[in-house]
């Protein structure tokens, strides 16, 4: 049997890309962000999410307790007990399928990106990363000091060495596939609340 791997790699050696093919030296910081917290908040709100800037954990706790999603949720899975306690332990479940009935998941994000409202979530501490997408609603908690201006500075801070899966999550899941009408809540979370603490 011919070795397709070898053949593909050999074929790719003969290319006709002319000119300077060196790796470019670049840096494109996003200037003009202004107050990173405010920019972050306004972008999240522009993509269908909600974002609250709160002073401390106590304020965060109150915000969650007073939120509509928390009030309406039956099965709550919390990884941030200092803010809200859950009643469903995803860690105790054998299979990810068993998380399908979770209405609300609360967990920490590692950083936020001001230019596009994305929150970096390291899913490795979760037994079932599917929870992030099965959960009906999502509350992400990040520290105010962990908001970086742009994607370049975000990647500079993320450690990929031992990582298995990580996600930039920006807003709830959505689709505009039917006549370009925006519908929030396609397959993943139907709402996203981001709490920026401090």
């Amino acid at each position: 049997m011919k070795d397709s791997r070898r053949l593909v790699l050999d074929r790719l050696k003969e290319h006709a890309i002319a000119g300077d093919t060196s790796y470019p030296a670049y840096s494109h910081p996003h200037t003009g962000i202004g107050d990173p917290r405010r920019s972050f908040q306004s972008v999240i709100e522009s993509v269908g999410g909600e974002c609250l800037l709160v002073a401390d954990l106590e304020a965060a706790r109150k915000a969650v307790a007073g939120s509509e999603v928390f009030f309406a949720a039956k099965n709550i899975c919390s990884y941030v007990n200092e803010i809200a306690e859950g009643n469903f332990d995803a860690e105790a479940e054998e299979s990810p399928d068993q998380c399908a009935g979770v209405d609300l998941t609360i967990l920490r994000g590692e950083l936020g990106v001001a230019e596009n409202g994305a929150v970096w979530v390291n899913a490795d501490p979760l037994r079932h990363r599917a929870l992030l997408f099965l959960s009906g609603n999502l509350i992400l908690v990040i520290e105010g000091q962990d908001i970086v201006p742009d994607m370049e500075s975000a990647y500079a801070r993320i450690d990929f060495s031992g990582l298995r899966s990580g996600y930039f999550i920006s807003g709830p899941s959505k689709t505009a596939d039917i006549e370009q009408c925006l519908v929030i809540g396609a397959h993943g979370a139907k709402s996203l609340l981001v709490l920026v603490v401090g």
Binding site: R11, K13, G185
Partner: protein
């Protein structure tokens, strides 16, 4: 096979739909413009993106090997496929090995290119598209008409009919939210029952072995995190050297594609989740051939954002199904030519050559220039139709000779005024189908210019100051 012109004409007959299609895509283009303007270094980012692509593709064997090593170290199993057939066989074998019969698939233009779904279905595998638009298309038995908005040609009432038939929604339901909710419930069941997930790849990072997948719906994520088997399929050109390079491409991708600052989910997967088996199939299928052609190699830089479709006046008006190749629009045109010049030759003429595609391309592919060059190739290969051939040869003759050109101009100025319009605009002159000849001027440009030069001299001599 019908030509682009005929298919586009058929699409345009449904005036209201064609107008909506045009407007909807132009709206996306405008969103893209606003997003691009909000990033201070936009043009530099495009330059950098192209430079990274140029570097990565010139060193692909090295980066593919690095990616393969890194991904394998994380526990992924890497395969190489020379062409579409081998790609399909590899995927089928993996599925058979795990006895997987129900597959949750998310959008992948590569799998469309390879005809994966048809192949798997022929082999007894049920494959469920999970992107809403792709699912609509699949249930309707159609093919995508856009690479990012696959069902842009279908109206909500039609989606209602399709869902009524297949998902049992109420007859006449056309509310996008209710239809989307019905699809969510239907596909949630499929996700939970699926024995394998298949998705495309937006970027593959050599340094870490990460594959990056961008979606708004979260379907790729359910598909890669629920089943115990996950297969990612990617073209060789998806590899980029470093993690940092993602910052450049992700900043460009969603803004160019849909005018979003970033997609709702940007997933970085480094090996399988615990208890899962993960395969990555790396496919050539003609990409090495593209890279070997100096004038056309940039076509392989494409990151499949679809911005050139949204901006293209011909695509917006004619619809995606007027192009016979699986990828429509300007980028589809320059990719189709590599696939089969004879079969897709008419696509080279489905362009006004306005250059808007090139202006919006996030990796600065010289799309419209390539389209012109492909027209050369079509002529050289002898595929140009007879009528066009004769017309162009006649025009060339006239353009080359001053005398013939003057005579031609003189004749037209006289005849068009005397003879009735149908002489010039009849069933035989395709050009006149939706155009009229302009009103003929009394004098030739040459004569106008002579008179103008004379008057200007007179004016300046008399000391008056007039705008020329």
């Amino acid at each position: 096979m019908k030509s682009h012109a005929r298919l586009a004409a058929a699409f345009l007959k449904q005036e209201e739909r064609a107008h909506w299609h045009d407007q909807a895509l132009w709206y996306v283009r405008e969103k893209r413009d606003r997003m691009a303007a909000s990033v201070p270094d936009w043009e530099d980012l495009r330059e950098t993106a192209q430079a990274i692509k140029r570097h990565a593709l010139a060193n692909l064997p090295r980066y593919l090997e690095e990616f393969e090593r890194s991904a394998a170290a994380r526990g992924a199993i890497v395969h190489y496929a020379l062409d579409a057939g081998e790609h399909n066989r590899i995927v089928l074998e993996i599925l058979k090995g795990r006895k997987a019969r129900l597959i949750a698939k998310s959008k992948s233009m590569l799998s469309e290119e390879c005809g994966l779904n048809e192949f798997l279905e022929r082999n007894g595998v049920e494959i469920v598209e999970t992107d809403l638009a792709e699912r609509i298309i699949q249930l309707a038995g159609e093919r995508p008409s856009h690479i990012v908005l696959p069902s842009i040609h279908i109206r909500k009432e039609e989606v209602g009919d399709i869902f009524h038939e297949h998902l049992g929604t109420e007859r006449g339901e056309s509310d996008p939210t209710r239809l989307t909710r019905a699809a969510r419930a239907h596909l949630r069941e499929k996700f939970l029952a699926a024995e394998a997930g298949i998705s495309g790849v937006n970027f593959a990072v050599a340094e870490t072995g990460a594959i990056v997948v961008c979606t708004n719906e979260g379907n790729a994520d359910l598909g890669n995190s629920l089943p115990d088997l996950y297969i990612a399929v990617m073209g060789v050109e998806k590899v980029i050297p470093k993690t940092r390079d993602l910052s450049v491409f992700l900043r460009l991708l969603s803004r160019s594609a849909t005018g979003q600052p970033i997609s709702a989910y940007t997933s970085h997967l480094l090996g399988p989740r615990p208890g899962q088996e993960m395969h990555i199939v790396i496919v050539d299928n003609g990409r090495s051939e593209i890279l070997r052609q100096e004038r056309f190699h940039k076509a392989a830089f494409c990151i499949r954002c679809g911005a050139c479709l949204n901006t293209c006046p011909v695509y917006r008006r004619g619809g995606g199904h007027s192009y016979n190749y699986v990828i429509p629009g300007p980028i589809g045109t320059i990719l189709a030519m590599h696939r089969d010049l004879k079969k897709f030759k008419d696509m080279a003429y489905a362009s006004t050559l306005c250059g808007s595609c090139t202006a919006v391309c996030p990796v600065k592919i010289d799309i419209h220039r390539q389209i012109v060059l492909w027209r050369n190739e079509v002529v050289r290969a002898g595929y140009l139709g007879k009528a066009k051939s004769v017309a162009l040869k006649t025009a060339t003759l006239g353009m080359k000779s001053t005398r013939l050109f003057r005579m031609g101009g003189w004749t037209m100025r006289k005849l068009v005024r005397i003879l009735p319009p149908f002489v010039f605009n009849n069933r035989l002159t395709i050009w006149g189908k939706s155009r009229d000849l302009p009103k003929m001027p009394a004098r030739s440009f040459r004569a106008e210019f002579r008179a103008y030069s004379r008057s200007k001299t007179d004016v300046s001599e008399s000391g008056m100051n007039r705008e020329g």
